[in-house]
Amino acid sequence: MSGHVKNMYPQLSISQAARTLLSLLLVAAIDSMNAGIACRNQQCESHIQRSSKLTRLIHMESVDLLKIYKASQGDLSELFCQMPINIVPNPNISGLDPSERMLSIYSHCKAFLPHLKRVTEQQRDLQPPSSPLLNNLTTAQYRTSGLANQIKCIYQTLFPNLPIPLEPVDGPTSIHPSQNVFQQKVYGCVVLKNFKELLSQIRHELRTIKNQMCKSRTFAYTNALF
């Protein structure tokens, strides 16, 4: 048990171990995949554009994900999702210049990954295996990891002389050790809600960064030629 109350499904208890193992393997594969992809030199605009599309996709899916989550939690008031939970990362992108804001995007993506993972694990105990929620949660992890990797590559491309901190700039993610089912549901809803807002902000930030950075770099590159 990963610090949460298990919602027992007797009829499915036999394959519980197998499901757990499969989930672990899938998450491990997501981590390894995204970690293993090297950054390639690409055009700034296309690179950011592709990341924007991915952000848009994740955002769209996060909206659906939140709907599905709420629908699958039973009588969960919308108000509970508005409750502030300190352990859930703040979705606001911080920073003054583009590099800082990009680093903030990267850090937020990285920060939400363990929370998404935790919610997935909690919901795996709460939902039947065939629930689309589990699949969507897994997909959200997978795409967020990929987005973080792309942001990192863009950052490295745009700011090659700036190092990327190993830990998120907002500090290490703290997860509450134990929660009851209600707490799990509220926690999951808040995580997904913040995650959706984060993606919305990332879309906006990336659009801004694309306009700022790619044009300026093209201009700088052009000046360098002359």
């Binding site: 997501i30 592709r50 769209m60 997978y142």
Partner: protein, 912 residues
């Protein structure tokens, strides 16, 4: 035993010990047998290797002590052939290397052997052997490509990749591994499917293939995919709908929905449309639908046509794969008024015996009818417009073929011109006006100069030359074709500059078409030129049926009917007559316009088989065989033979009879007549004899001594029929009897007047009238040898002519009463008065004598007999040949003229 007691336990232990000992003994025995039978003398390193063709392979043979041999005794064989010593490398006293080149021909087995002592039966002993597996390392796969398909509203996590594998050695196990970033999976030889868990939308992806076997490993080029969406094949667009808007007869609005959310994959679309049944798709230019829109308006469509629309999509960048086309969506554009003229034409039917034509007005719907034609307005000459509603004139949008519509029939004088105007109308409006002029029959403009047709690309082409006049004014040409078999008519128009054109209508193969080209002079029809053509010729469906019109002895006339038009299937180029005679088949080729032929040279009175083969340029077809028998004789041959034979026989008969008649004297020689003394009547004449004077004429002809009867003397017969000869003889005789000797000539009337009373005369006697019964003795000697003085013979009462008085002397003669024709000489002398004329009818008929009573007859016979004995000395047969000269020269023997009835030949009548 009970296992719970001590005895039992002991017992069990004993038994188990015994069995254990047994097993150990068997194991020891097996080991000994094995060690003694399969001694290990050495080994080869490496064991069972896979070797690459084209490279060298080195193996090491390690010899054990048990082999009792040194490396010097070792030699290698590869595929049964000893490897040369030069390829050996001695490592130490117990190991030796061998290096061999590996080729396709290299043997499978590589053996390490040692030479045995000469005393040994076996000259060599194998130390060890290995099996070589030859092959090639894998080749690099090429053309790696991957595709992910849509699954639900996402892209499937399974990515399917294909590639072209290089050459592979089937004997060597080869593995293919497909890699996608950090995922991998075993693949087939040329394809594989990799599972990503989640499809990596907008995330970089590397895909490659590793191929490995025992001889090596090779990796394909890495497929670096920046956006995996570019290898996506989505579902076709959803809910394709077409909206037809009234008053927009040439447009259709097409709408659809994205098959997948635009956020996942941004798509571009492609549309195509066609009219129902045509199958000729028209694609909307891709630039018009590049954006991710969900509707499009098709323009410049045909009104009142049902259109089919399909839509497909792919990634908006153009990379990846087009989706399948969506299902057909159909809609009909609204109607519009006809925008082209109806195709107006006519059929002129000449009237028999009248100076007028019947003109049938026909037409086709306008090409751009833009809706269902509901009727026509027609105007003949200067009349009013008439409405001709039509029901079946529905333009079939699925077929471009327009039906012919008969509209009107009008009589038109040959001396009048005709003009027709026509408009078509549908629910929206009227078409432009079409007009057609029919000139006077005698003033038809000239036809085209030449016309021909030919086949090309399975179409029938018509070629023509313009009319041979200057400034013809031809505005267009009308090609008209009529099916000869069923009379179906169709036509098409060609521009004035065209000299050839394919027939656009549906023609059937093997059918004869009459094709006419009409030059059109500003709407007026010219004189047509017509030819006959086939779209495609073939061999006739059936051969001509033959029958025999006439058979002969060696020939037969066969005739056949023309093959029916629907079975001819081409122009008959010739007929070939096959006939079998004498066991051999013969053939005769005749022209196509020949329908009968006389086959010669057939065997008579034999069975003949004949058949006719009809040929076209595309083949020939035989008709059925016909058997018949020739005649034994030619027609008329039998009749001619019979007639000839009959004529021959008749000729022979006539000739024989003629000969008999002409050569009667010869016959008489053969069968001399025997005089019947009883018929002699000379005795009756005896009292008158002395007083009877001899006329000078008779004396002139007195040299005739023998009177002959010539029944065939034509002069004597005059115009009398020979058949009436016996009767006439009788008549003459009866006349003679009544009028006496010296009657009239053959034409004298008395003969005719007396004839009837004597009809019942004895014909037998008449027949015998030809027989000379007696002779009149002439006194003039013979052949000029006139006796000077004939002594008075006691045997004759005839006066003997005096010698020297040749002209004036009166010959003395004796008249015999016999019925012998010898009397003719006397008669002729008296009647005709000509020396050379002889009348055969002067014979005395026996009827005359028979007319007498029997008493007189007997008396007469007695008198005759007495006279005969006194006055006649009939010549013997042999003496008849004796000439008078001879007789005269031998007066001693037979003095005086001897009465003779020898036939007097004309040639002998020479004057003294």
């Amino acid at each position: 035993p009970n296992p719970c007691t001590s005895d039992g336990i002991k017992c069990i232990m004993d038994q188990s010990s015994y069995r254990l000992l047994q097993i150990l003994s068997l194991a020891c025995l097996a080991c000994r047998l094995t060690s003694s039978s399969f001694k290990n003398y050495g080994t080869i390193i490496p064991q069972s290797p896979t070797v690459e063709i084209g490279k060298e392979f080195t193996a090491t043979c390690v010899v054990y002590e048990a082999a009792k041999a040194t490396v010097d005794d070792i030699y290698w064989t590869s595929g049964g052939v000893i490897v040369p010593k030069e390829q050996y490398t001695k490592i130490n006293d117990s190991a030796v290397n061998v290096t061999i080149p590996i080729t396709r021909e290299t043997g499978k087995w590589l053996l390490c052997k040692k030479n045995e002592s000469p005393s040994s039966l076996n000259k060599s002993k194998t130390i060890h052997g290995i099996e070589l597996t030859k092959g090639y390392p894998p080749e690099k796969p090429e053309n790696l490509s991957c595709m992910a398909v849509q699954f639900d509203q996402q892209i499937s996590s399974n990515v399917t990749c294909t590639w072209q594998p290089g050459k592979m050695d089937e004997k060597i196990s080869t593995t293919f591994t497909l890699f996608g970033s950090n995922y991998s999976t075993k693949a087939q030889r040329s394809s594989g499917c990799i599972y990503f868990g989640n499809f990596p939308n907008y995330m970089e992806l590397d895909i490659w293939v590793d191929v490995e076997n025992n001889l090596g490993k090779v990796r394909s080029d890495v497929l670096f995919i920046i956006d995996p969406n570019e290898m996506v094949k989505t579902n076709p667009p959803l809910d394709v709908n077409i909206i037809s808007e009234k008053n927009f007869s040439r447009t259709l609005l097409v709408s659809w929905k994205h098959p997948i959310h635009e956020t996942v994959v941004k798509l571009k679309y492609n549309l195509r449309f066609c009219t129902v049944g045509s199958g000729d798709w028209t694609e909307v230019p891709p630039n018009d639908t590049e954006s991710s829109k969900e509707s499009f308006r098709l323009q410049y469509l045909k009104p009142d046509m049902e259109h089919v629309v399909q839509v497909r999509c792919m990634h908006h960048t153009g990379y990846g794969y087009w989706s399948d086309w969506s299902a057909n969506s159909t809609a009909r554009t609204p109607e519009d008024k006809p925008t082209s003229k109806p195709d107006l034409w006519r059929v002129v039917i000449p009237s028999q015996g009248k100076s007028e034509r019947r003109v049938e007005v026909i037409c086709k719907d306008p090409v751009e009818s833009n809706g269902r034609i509901r009727g026509y307005n027609i105007k003949i000459q200067d009349g009013a417009w008439e409405v001709v509603p039509v029901n079946g004139s529905e333009l079939n949008s699925r077929s471009q073929e327009r039906k012919m519509i008969p509209l009107y029939q009008i009589p038109l004088s040959d001396k009048r011109r005709g003009s027709i105007e026509l408009k078509a109308w549908n629910s929206v409006g009227e078409s432009p006006r079409a007009s057609l002029g029919i000139p006077k029959l005698a003033h038809e403009p000239p036809p085209v100069a030449s016309l021909s047709c030919f086949n090309q690309d399975r179409r029938l082409w018509v070629e023509w030359q313009p009319p041979n006049v200057e400034a013809t004014g031809v505005t267009e040409y009308v090609l008209e074709w009529v099916s000869v078999s069923d009379g179906a008519i169709d036509w098409q128009r060609e521009p004035r500059h065209n000299r050839k054109a394919p027939i656009k209508g549906t023609l059937q193969r093997f059918k004869l078409y009459s094709i006419s080209v009409y030059p059109m002079y500003s709407g007026w029809t010219g004189k047509p030129l017509t030819t006959a053509c086939f779209l495609e010729q073939g061999a006739p469906l059936e051969g001509p049926s033959v029958k025999v019109r006439r058979t002969g002895k060696s020939n037969a006339e066969v005739e056949w009917m023309e093959i029916p038009l629907d079975k001819r299937r081409g122009f008959i180029t010739n007929y070939t007559i096959f006939y079998i005679t004498g066991g051999k088949e013969h053939s005769i080729v005749v022209s196509p316009d020949t329908y009968s032929y006389t086959v010669e040279g057939l065997a008579s009175n034999s069975k003949q088989v004949v058949r006719i083969m009809a040929s076209t340029v595309q083949g020939s077809t035989n008709g059925s065989d016909l058997s018949f028998n020739t005649l034994m004789y030619a027609p008329g041959q039998m009749e001619a033979t019979v007639v000839s034979v009959c004529i021959g026989i008749l000729f022979v008969i006539v000739l024989t009879v003629s000969l008999c008649m002409y050569k009667i004297d010869l016959i008489k020689k053969i069968w001399p007549p025997v005089p019947d003394p009883s018929n002699s009547t000379i005795a009756n004449w005896s009292p008158d004899f002395p007083t009877k004077a001899v006329s000078p004429k008779e004396s002139v002809l007195g040299d005739v001594s023998v009177v002959e009867v010539d029944v065939f003397d034509r002069k004597s017969l005059c115009e009398e029929d020979k058949a009436g000869l016996p009767l006439k003889k009788d008549k003459y005789l009866s006349e003679e009897h009544s009028s006496g000797i010296g009657g009239s000539s053959c034409m004298s009337t008395p003969r005719q007047s007396v004839s009837d009373s004597e009809e019942g005369g004895d014909s037998g006697q008449t027949t015998t009238s030809t027989v000379q019964y007696s002779s009149v003795v002439a006194s003039n000697g013979y052949k000029g040898q006139s006796p000077c003085t004939l002594p008075q013979s006691p045997c004759t009462l005839l006066q003997t002519p005096q010698c020297g008085s040749s002209q004036s002397q009166t010959p003395s003669f004796a008249r015999s009463e016999s019925t012998q024709p010898l009397l003719d000489s006397e008669e002729s002398q008296e009647g005709s008065g000509q020396s050379h004329q002889r009348n055969p009818y002067f014979s005395r008929s026996p009827v005359a004598s028979e007319s007498r009573d029997p008493g007189d007859r007997n008396q007469l016979e007695m008198e005759e007999q007495g006279l005969a004995s006194l006055r006649f000395c009939p010549l013997e047969e042999g003496s008849q040949q004796t000439t008078p000269t001879d007789e005269g020269q031998s007066p001693d023997e037979q003095p005086g003229p001897v009465p003779s009835y020898m036939p007097q030949l004309r040639g002998h009548r020479q004057p003294c």
